[in-house]
């Protein structure tokens, strides 16, 4: 299946083409059209997966446990599809909202290298290859976050870079120890070796290094401090891109590692995951409630929501993992949507400070509707996607007897609702304050609404077709809980 490498090859080719056609005129077209190509490729791979089962590709024709193998199972495919939609929406948004001092062709070069790293991390079946994709992702995100070269962007960049570099080192150290103990880095092979090993508890030293490394990437408590220190500094387009994708890659690797081969000593790990999840939800939710800058509220909110995904992994039943995967997908869409809306509010009003804006409901009802869809989806209001995500997780928690974490999740839902309603009240409902310091921005024209409308539509459709999506995430969860199928597909793969 050579098509498996399309999610890596397409962004790579697009990034190279942007080096050749190095003017904003081309960047304006290559960006969105290229992202559309990624949507097509990921949907194609998803349908192929449905008809043919798990897709694998041995890179360089090296036999499976020795070479690098790319694997697409349901979890990878779902993540690829959702992230390609987000990339498309953000690419449309970038064309309208990036300031003139960031050339579009340069932005899209790093945009595509970033998406190459993300897609690579989603489909690789090799631990060291995952490390390499993480670094591809990191170096692109370092450049993107400092792109405006303003003082606070450089400062945020230093903080972001420092903690993430330490995370990468821990990842690499854990990987070295893992190789020393097992003699393989192929994920399926690791799973096979560790499944039949009575001393698998020795893996804990490696597992904790991976836990901290992924914890830093996914911004869980108490390793999240880089996120609120840096996410509000770059241009809102870049923040929206990061918010939707980067931390979710950390969550994806958590789910992959702790279902596939770090499955020894489950009592310890699942309790640790649940404690971390609860603390993440609460700290993120409370911190979000204390701010009046939309970007900061939403940044803390990312952290709060990561807790739910980790909670699903900690409960570790098929229902909980299916819920966690659905929650991740919903959150990627809705979170990016709210950030895009925050950028549009700032474009209209010239500031992100909620205390200085107001009256937007009368001024721009369309934006109000487009904001309320992702915001209420995040808060978990019934017909929208977030409701089904939270409902499934909470149902799984009660069924499995994890009452404390489930109560924490329910109460954090109120905090989420509070901060969403705060943005709604302050920006849309209350009257425009008289003594504002910032000049009004410019009016929005219709192409400005397209990316947010797209994400709002996806969010609504994810709620309407929740049953269909849940059948996919259940399939993903079953593949994760019982990895026999995954192991067989990778290790007995016959090359044509």
């Amino acid at each position: 299946m050579t098509q498996v490498e399309l999610p890596i090859l397409i962004p790579f080719a697009l990034a190279i083409s942007l080096l050749i056609f190095n003017t904003p005129k081309y960047g304006r077209w290559i960006g969105p059209i290229g992202s559309l190509a990624m949507i097509v490729a990921s949907l194609y791979l998803f349908t192929t997966l449905q008809s043919e089962g798990i897709l694998t590709l041995n890179m360089g024709a090296w036999e499976a446990p020795f070479g690098i193998v790319l694997v697409i199972d349901y979890l990878s495919a779902l993540m690829l599809v959702v992230s390609s939609f987000i990339l498309f929406a953000v690419s449309l948004y970038a064309v309208r909202f990036l300031p003139d001092d960031i050339p579009l062709s340069r932005f899209f070069f790093f945009f595509f290298t970033l998406s190459m790293g993300i897609n690579g991390a989603f489909i690789t079946g090799d631990v060291f290859n995952l490390y390499v994709w993480f670094e591809v992702m990191l170096i692109s995100s370092f450049v993107l976050i400092t792109m405006g070269r303003k003082k606070e962007q450089l400062e945020g960049g230093i903080k972001y870079l420092a903690l993430n570099l330490i995370g990468s080192m821990l990842f690499l150290a854990g990987l070295g120890l893992l190789y020393g103990k097992t003699g393989t880095l192929n994920m399926a092979h690791l799973a096979q070796i560790l499944k039949n090993d009575d001393q698998a508890i020795m893996m804990n030293t490696s597992a904790i290094l991976f836990f901290v490394a992924f914890g830093i990437k996914a911004a869980v408590f108490p390793l999240f401090f880089w996120l609120p220190a840096s996410y509000h500094t770059p241009n809102i387009t870049i923040t929206a891109l990061f918010a939707g994708l980067l931390t979710k890659v950390g969550v994806y690797t958590f789910i992959r590692f702790f279902t596939l081969f770090f499955v020894q000593d489950q009592v310890f790990w699942h309790n640790l995951l649940l404690i971390v999840a609860g603390a993440t939800m609460v700290t993120g939710g409370i911190a979000a409630a204390s701010y009046y800058d939309t970007r900061r509220i939403l940044s803390y909110h990312i952290i709060s929501q990561i807790g739910y995904m980790i909670m699903g992994l900690g409960i570790f039943t098929p229902l909980a993992i299916a819920g966690a995967i659905y929650f991740t997908m919903h959150n990627m869409v809705a979170k990016t949507g709210t950030f895009l809306a925050a950028g549009m509010i700032a474009k209209l009003k010239g500031t992100y400070q909620l205390k200085e804006v107001g009256g937007l409901y009368k001024q721009n009802p369309l934006l109000a509707i487009l904001f309320i869809v992702p915001a209420f989806a995040l808060a978990g209001v019934p017909p929208l996607s977030g409701f089904f995500a939270k409902f499934t997780l909470i149902k799984a928690g009660f069924e499995n007897g994890n009452y404390i974490i489930t109560m924490v999740a329910l109460l954090t839902g109120l905090l989420t609702l509070y901060s969403m309603i705060k943005i709604w009240n302050e920006a849309f409902l209350k009257k425009q304050p008289e003594n504002k310091k910032h000049q009004d921005g410019v009016a929005l024209s219709w192409p400005d609404y397209v990316p947010l409308a797209l994400l709002a539509l996806v969010s609504v459709l994810m709620g309407v077709f929740a049953a269909t999506l849940f059948s996919y995430t259940f399939e993903a969860a079953n593949q994760l809980i019982d990895p026999t199928n995954y192991i067989q597909s990778v290790l007995n793969n016959k090359q044509p």
Binding site: E135, I139, F142, I158, I166, L175, G176, Y179, H232
Partner: protein, 116 residues
Amino acid sequence: MEVMLALLVGILYTAGVYMLLRRSILKFIIGIIFMSNATNLLVFISSGLVAGKPAFVNESTLNVSDLADPMPQALVLTAIVIGLGMVVFILALKYKYFEVTGTDDLDQLKQTDSQK
């Protein structure tokens, strides 16, 4: 030899963490370099050292004890290159930050955390 290298890894990590906790950004970067080298060494010795044996052999050598494990060597080469790129980027970032603010003090990095 493994013991010596293991001790070296420990010393490099200690020195790296100490430098990370200093106030100067430049010393912080030196700490990053120490830690990344310690990690590279750790990966390199992870599967044990084999002295004086080649990593790649031709098909006639079938005995496993006649060759060194090529995998950690390949991994560590990749990791060194990535680490170099990272250090170059963070040095460039530090230079730019110094140009804009004129400070090398990590305690001055308060702006993005303050409540506004």
